[in-house]
């Protein structure tokens, strides 16, 4: 049944439209504005040769990256059953991109939208009855460049590949102390992706997800050597 539009409702509608348009103008303005500095940068910076990078910048870039993401997790204390052995089984070596262990929707796309719907923030996926692992590098958008599904189990020819054992767990210097980070941080700067939340392998799941600055206590082990004064043996 149609209710006739009252005078008051008509004005309300018009008012809302005006507000919407204003908001639209603001958004567009922001977008244009956003664009400018970048453009100016390339214009002025285009002739200069950037200095040769000797030390990569990634070391500190992601320290706080996990913070926003963690607040988006369903529940950090929720516990899945994924184990570290399964985590490594999906990889040719510790640090290799894991293969895709489930059917994929489309093979014709780079798949960022499809993959990120589960793997950006994690959560329970009823289809697979499992918690989706979270990507530690959500900024990379061509997922299928590195992660491929497996159409068969058989091999054409056997491979005699061997790799190193994954890093041992719990290598704290002191009993109860914070263990150092045993792996490289490039593309794995977001600690909480693998160490917090329900899809984190149980062996490496943090007991204190509420702490926000992981690398205040956990530091990368950059060298196996001890300190030595110049010219002396450690």
């Amino acid at each position: 049944m149609n209710t006739p539009v009252t005078f008051f409702q008509k004005y309300l509608l018009i008012g809302m439209l005006v507000l919407l348009m204003a908001a639209g103008v603001w958004v567009i303005g922001q977008a244009l504005h956003e664009d400018d500095p970048d453009r100016a940068k390339t214009e002025t910076g285009r002739m200069t040769t950037p200095p040769l990078k000797t030390t990569p910048l990634y070391q500190e870039a992601g320290v706080f990256q996990g913070r926003d993401q963690r607040s988006r997790f369903v529940d950090l204390r929720q516990a899945g059953t994924r184990r570290l052995a399964e985590y490594y089984d999906r990889r040719a070596y510790p640090g290799a991109p894991p293969y895709i262990p489930h059917p994929v929707e489309s093979d014709m796309k780079t798949d960022f939208e499809a993959c990120s719907s589960c793997h950006e923030n994690g959560g329970f996926v009823p289809t697979f009855q499992a918690f989706a692992p979270v990507t530690p590098h959500a900024a990379y958008r061509n997922c299928r460049q590195c992660h491929v599904p497996q159409a068969t189990e058989t091999l054409l020819v056997a491979n005699q590949w061997q790799t190193t054992a994954p890093p041992a767990i719990g290598r704290a210097a002191l009993p109860g102390g914070p263990p150092p980070i045993p792996h490289g941080l490039h593309m794995r700067e977001n600690c909480s992706a693998c160490h917090a939340g329900p899809a984190a392998p149980v062996e490496i799941r943090t007991s204190h997800p509420e702490r926000l600055s992981c690398r205040q206590c956990h530091v990368p082990a950059e060298t196996a050597l001890d300190f030595a004064r110049p010219g002396e043996q450690p």
Partner: protein, 769 residues
């Protein structure tokens, strides 16, 4: 792609592991493959083994084995990111059937022999063949996967010592049109810009280039640029819908071969819109036309030589009158609006434009022309040789540029200049310390012609290194039969058994990639050095040393370094002498050791990132552009018409057949199919059809069809809407699968200027099996 059954099986397997784990908490169960201890892991830089992007890798070495890979964050190419092939590349060293021993054919079977015996036999057979049939009866056929020292010693032995120009490489099948395109338009080979253009450009136009799969790491750089720079546009111009099309802002499909008309139409519209950069064109461009009725190289003994006739802007504009958007729209299937849109992108003075292409434009019976035509667009609007503006020809192989194009392992080339040029011959003879008469001033056979000569008997002995022509030659059966003819002697250096080693008389086991020292040169003129990091298996030996060993046995030992510890350095320093100077200077050995690659021209300690402009190129005269490759210091715009392909679909063979690659496999698959994760991802080739065609033929994905061309037939599985979607009336088949050799049915027509075959177009009939 993963069937549900396999998935469930995988899940069951891993839950068994999980169950075992929960019995013994805290104990880590390493998988069987985790063998060595982690203690001695060290990381070493190397360029990736696979494509022409040339990513910097760090390979983890432990107890003498390669055990892990990470992207090198210090590499300006990939900035720490790799693709799935790169991450798993080191597994290609460890396939169970690696060739560890030399083999010789005895009573029809290949049997293991000591390497020294095989090398003796090769040298002996070279001497006998030359004595009986002349120096031009022997040939070497290498590849864009040859390291720079491999190609250098091959050219020196064959051109300098034996005196034959029968030196070719598979890059003829992959980059020759790019080379002739560069030479005809600019007089010098290889791109003017570098990958850093990506960080400055606003618009990327991809011409027949499925970059998301073929140059994935560079494509990720495009996507990253678009994320940070909102006005970035990626336009995919293609004949097939691919991952690149889906990721692009706009996908435009066109009829095969009509890219020629599209490019001319864009030029027409740029002129009509008044977008020509007049001062640039007046100062820096010359106009030329060439022959138009040039054939397709299908006949044995085919010969063609192009000639440049001068014309002017008015003449060029009049030539373009045939290419109005309305006329071109009906030919190409691209709407007039889209054609005008493309012209607007190229013509907009406020947008920086980079064009990318690879095999779509190069494997083309008018490959040189279409390369010229895309250069024309950049030249008309002056968008070239400046950061973010430029045409960029991508390469497929890790050293197609470094070895084949720079060292010059093509019949007409020398490391500097061409054999036809007396000064170039003198320079080569001086550096090689051979009599100048040794170097034949007449080019002999390009690749297709070389295999035809094997058929006719003009060539009797061929040494094939790092390539698999018995998978990759077009119209394959003819050339396989030729190689198997009585009185032919084929030597194959490779790392695994392949269809090419199957037809060999001698097989030499090669040390691959990081099992030896070497250098590759990538698409952006970057030379990258790698050290030997692991021992080769069995008696495997680098291709460089194999050639030196044979040269020594033939009496040319004094021309080549003999010390296995220093020979690569000695070869590099000798080779560098060819390129001395600001136009092509190469970095010293010590600099290559330190850096993750160095872009040439490397002059007075500095890389030249953008050539042909005085601000960035020390070889450029004046204060702005200087196209010094040409004697008139101008870049040449060529009037090149549209011409149809030699074989087009008809009533009997109604489909187009296009062949190509997939992300997971490298070329003929002999390495990547031995890498577990890659083989499992794409275990066999398939034929892609458009869904409407599949419905009309009554076939679904997974069912069988027969592809029939005038050359032969092949049965395959259908794939509808899986990796790609061909246009209606098209079939696409990847060529990596040696059990499903699509090249049995392809056509060996080639570009008459570049002599590069067209693997992308022939007519095929599709039958339901």
């Amino acid at each position: 792609m993963v069937s549900r059954r396999i998935f469930i099986k995988n899940m069951a397997l891993s839950s068994a592991v999980v169950a075992a784990q929960s019995l013994l908490p805290g104990v880590l169960f390493p998988s069987a493959s985790f063998g060595a201890a982690a203690s001695g892991l060290t990381w070493h830089k190397t360029p990736c083994r696979f494509c022409g992007v040339g990513c910097g890798l760090l390979v983890g070495i432990d107890s003498g084995r390669a055990v892990a890979v990470k992207g090198d964050p210090a590499s300006a190419v990939n900035k720490g990111l790799c693709c799935v092939k790169g991450y798993h590349s080191v597994q290609a060293l460890y396939g169970k059937d690696r060739l560890r021993s030399a083999q010789m054919r005895k009573n029809g079977r290949l049997v293991d022999v000591p390497l020294s015996e095989a090398l003796d036999a090769v040298a002996d057979h070279f001497k006998k063949t030359i004595a009986a049939h002349g120096k031009d009866s022997v040939a070497i056929y290498g590849s864009g996967q040859w390291t720079i020292p491999d190609g250098y010693v091959a050219a020196k032995l064959f051109k300098g010592c034996l005196g034959t120009n029968n030196v070719e490489a598979n890059a003829r099948l992959c980059m020759a049109s790019a080379v002739t395109g560069f030479l005809t338009s600019f007089g010098l080979d290889e791109p003017m810009g570098c990958y850093e253009d990506i960080d400055h450009a606003d618009v990327f136009i991809l011409w027949g280039n499925n970059m998301a799969e073929m140059h994935p790491v560079l494509f990720s750089r495009l996507l990253e640029r678009r994320q940070h720079h909102k006005r970035t546009l990626i336009v995919d111009l293609a004949t097939r819908t691919t991952r690149t099309s889906f990721a692009a802002d706009k996908s435009i499909l066109f009829e095969p071969q009509t890219d020629l008309a599209i490019a001319n139409c864009i030029a027409y519209q740029i002129i009509k819109d008044g977008r020509v950069n007049r001062s640039f064109v007046e100062k820096h461009v010359a106009f030329k036309k060439g022959h138009t009725d040039i054939g397709y190289g299908l006949e044995d003994g085919f010969h063609f030589k192009d000639e440049a006739t001068p014309t002017d802007f008015a003449g060029y504009a009049a030539f373009l009158e045939d290419y109005t958007p309305e006329k071109v729209a009906s030919l190409t299937g691209v709407s007039a609006a889209d054609l005008r849109y493309l012209a607007a992108l190229y013509g907009d003075p406020n947008r920086k434009v980079v064009s990318f292409w690879c095999m779509g434009m190069n494997q083309h019976t008018r490959g040189t022309w279409i390369n010229n035509l895309v250069y024309n667009l950049h030249l008309l609007v002056g968008k070239i040789s400046r950061p973010g503006n430029g045409p960029f020809s991508l390469t497929g192989q890790p050293s197609a540029c470094g070895t084949v194009r720079e060292v010059g392992t093509l019949t007409h080339k020398l490391p500097h200049g061409v054999v036809m040029n007396e000064a170039a011959r003198k320079k080569a003879a001086e550096i090689w310390q051979v009599p100048v008469e040794n170097i034949d001033p007449k080019p002999s056979h390009h690749t297709v012609s070389m295999f035809r000569a094997l058929d006719s008997g003009a060539i009797r002995m061929m040494w094939i290194q790092v390539t698999n022509p018995m998978v990759t030659m077009p119209k394959l059966k003819r050339y396989r039969d030729a190689a198997k003819k009585e009185g032919r002697f084929i030597v194959v250096s490779d790392v695994y058994p392949t269809p090419t080693t199957d037809i060999a008389d001698v097989v030499l086991p090669s040390a691959m990639w990081i099992e030896r020292e070497g250098m590759y040169g990538n698409s952006e003129r970057r030379t990258q050095h790698f050290q030997q990091l692991v021992e080769p298996p069995g008696e495997a030996m680098s291709d460089t040393l194999q050639i030196i060993e044979v040269a020594r046995r033939m009496g040319f030992g004094d021309k080549f370094p003999q010390d296995p510890k220093t020979h690569i350095r000695e070869i590099w320093e000798e080779y560098r002498r060819f390129h001395d100077g600001p136009k092509h200077g190469m970095a010293p050995y010590e600099v290559l050791l330190q850096r993750p690659g160095v872009i040439w021209p490397f002059h007075e300690g500095r890389e030249t990132k953008w050539r042909y402009h005085a601000e960035t190129d020390p070889a450029a005269k004046g204060s702005s552009f200087d196209f010094y490759g040409k004697p008139d210091h101008r870049a040449w715009i060529w009037a090149r018409p549209y011409e149809p392909a030699p074989e087009v679909p008809d009533r009997e063979y109604p489909f187009w057949l296009c062949t190509g690659r997939v992300l997971e496999h490298w070329h003929s698959g002999s390495m990547t199919r031995r890498i577990p994760v890659l083989h499992r991802a794409v275990p066999e080739a398939y034929a892609e059809l458009h869904p409407d065609d599949a419905t009309r033929l009554g076939v679904r994905s997974g069912e069988r069809i027969r592809l029939v061309t005038r050359r032969g037939s092949l049965e395959m599985t259908v794939a509808v809407d899986q990796r790609g979607r061909p246009a209606r009336g098209h079939v696409f088949v990847p060529f990596f699968d040696e059990a499903l050799l699509i090249n049995e049915v392809t056509l060996d027509a080639y570009c008459p200027i570049s002599k590069q075959p067209d693997y992308k177009k022939c007519a095929v009939k599709v039958e339901r099996v």
